[in-house]
């Protein structure tokens, strides 16, 4: 495996997260009627960080936070060689009439977000849904889906692969670009 190219430094990574939080506060105030939903598995890492920081910044410690598993909603089910592995789904509230911030690490084809939107329907009719993505890969979108809040934008070849590493799991916060899928 070739080593990935580091796209942003750990310091800029921290700034980016901080900026995303402030953008969310700018638009949604103390997030009183807003819930944050991380998409399992990798969006949850980003959502964890955002929620933790937003609680401090807004002083609102009751931000509803859910973890949404979309495995059973994917449209590429049965196109893989092995079964898709589900992750725990933790949604302890309904999203009816709430502002929903969907959180994922990398926005690429948009299919994950499409599945998340259909999964979300099962929890009521949200007032509005917006998308937070740490990395927006601009090319090769398969669906008309755009992020409302973007950490960094990456232009890469289709066969390239972007991976986000987290301190809690990988020992370091970094965004890596690989030549091909690893």
């Amino acid at each position: 495996m070739t080593a990935g190219k580091e796209l942003i430094s750990p310091q800029r990574f921290a700034f980016t997260l901080e900026r995303l939080c402030h953008q969310l506060i700018e638009d949604w105030g103390d997030l009183s009627n807003t819930c944050i939903i991380g998409i399992q598995p990798r969006g949850v890492q980003l959502a964890d960080r955002l929620v933790q920081r937003l609680k401090v910044l807004t002083g609102n410690s009751d931000i509803p936070y859910g973890k949404l598993d979309i495995t059973f909603y994917r449209d590429d089910f049965r196109m893989h060689d092995t079964p898709l592995s589900p992750h725990p789904n933790e949604m302890n509230f309904v999203v009816a009439d709430k502002n929903v911030l969907l959180v994922d690490d990398v926005l690429y084809t948009g299919r994950t977000i499409q599945s998340a939107l259909s999964a979300l329907q099962h929890y009521g009719r949200p007032r509005v849904v917006e998308l937070v993505a740490l990395v927006d890969r601009r090319f090769n979108r398969h669906l008309p889906i755009q992020a409302d809040y973007v950490g960094i934008t990456v232009d890469a070849m289709d066969e390239a692969y972007v991976k986000v590493h987290w301190q809690e799991i990988h020992g370091k916060d970094e965004i890596l670009l690989f030549d091909k899928k690893i």
Binding site: D69, T71, F72, Y73, F77, R78, M79, H80, D81, T82, P83, L84, S85, P86, H87, P88, N89, M91, V94, S118, H122, Y123
Partner: protein, 307 residues
């Protein structure tokens, strides 16, 4: 994620411990799904499943049907009594006709042991055994073991007693295979006429003393006396059976510990188990039914996965 080692679920004997664990882990997720306000996910929306029942069933058929519907599959139901089988059509012809209508999976119950193996060798669809005669009933064994795991945390090293009509029971055989693969200690208990000799060769203990077995076990899985299969007299009367082998409140109260009571249904109250035990707090009979849907969703999902 790993996948199942088989394309069909014919029996527990042919699957591995890893398969069983994978089914359990997947069932955990489906159990969460069926406790949501909206209990449906679209995973199998492009598949058609045929439920073919050549023998009567309430629980298993409804459980499979609910599992299929909650995965958004299309369903055709078929009961032998109202079909061309009564006009003399063979099993293979019946199923091939159904498959010609583009069915992807077949769930079958049949009175002849081995009917599902036979079917799986001749048709391209995935076959799930919902009980073949006195042979196996794999999804029942999976949900029983899953319920034990849920109740006691783990199945390994637990002492499980299977009490009742072992001779006619496909549930008993599948349970023995499943529990042994998961590392449990298994004992069968019942009148000598209702325990086949070969059970000792399977590595299970055989006992004819119910009270002693209840003392020994952590879980008592009580099986039904299969009145419809009692072609000869295996015991003098139901009343006598109840006196010697029935699980009663009196027997449970004599124990110095609380054991878990299970029953795969349907219950003959007052025969193999008395009403007060069947309805006692330590009985998990209705949890078994709930888990049945989650387990069957997991089996359908995993068999339908992959290319």
């Amino acid at each position: 994620m790993s996948s199942l080692s088989t394309r069909h679920l014919i029996g527990i004997k042919n699957i591995t411990e890893a398969d069983i664990q994978l089914i359990f882990e997947t069932a955990d997720n489906f159990k969460e799904v069926i406790n949501r306000p909206i209990k449906k996910v679209p995973s199998l929306r492009d598949l058609t499943v045929a439920n073919i029942f050549f023998e009567s069933s309430t629980r298993t058929r409804i459980s499979f049907e609910l599992a299929e519907r909650r995965l958004s599959a299309d369903i055709v139901n078929f009961a032998a009594a109202s079909s061309s089988v009564s006009k003399g059509e063979t099993l293979l012809d019946t199923v091939n006709n159904i498959l010609a209508m583009k069915v992807d999976m077949v769930v079958m119950r049949h009175p002849a042991p081995g009917a599902c193996v036979f079917l799986s060798q001749h048709i391209p669809a995935n076959v799930i055994n919902a009980g073949d005669g006195t042979h196996e009933h794999p999804t029942q064994a999976l949900l029983d073991a899953y319920s034990i795991r849920e109740q006691l945390g783990d199945v390994a090293n637990k002492k499980i007693a299977i009490i009742g009509d072992i001779l006619h029971s496909r549930v008993a055989l599948s349970n023995v295979f499943c529990l042994q693969k998961l590392g449990a200690k298994v004992r069968v208990c019942g009148p000598p006429t209702l325990i086949p000799k070969y059970y000792a060769d399977l590595g299970v203990e055989v006992s004819h003393d119910v009270q002693e077995t209840l003392h020994w076990c952590d879980v008592a899985n009580v099986l039904r006396i299969q009145l419809e299969r009692q072609d000869i007299k295996y015991f003098p009367s139901l009343r006598e059976y109840h006196q010697f082998f029935g699980i009663t409140k009196n027997r449970i109260e004599q124990l110095d510990k609380e054991i878990v009571i299970m029953h795969p249904g349907p219950i003959n109250r007052g025969v193999e188990i008395s009403s007060d035990v069947a309805d006692a707090p330590q009985s998990i009979i209705l949890q078994q039914v709930e888990n049945g849907v989650a387990i069957r969703m997991a089996v359908l999902y995993l068999l339908a996965s992959g290319k």
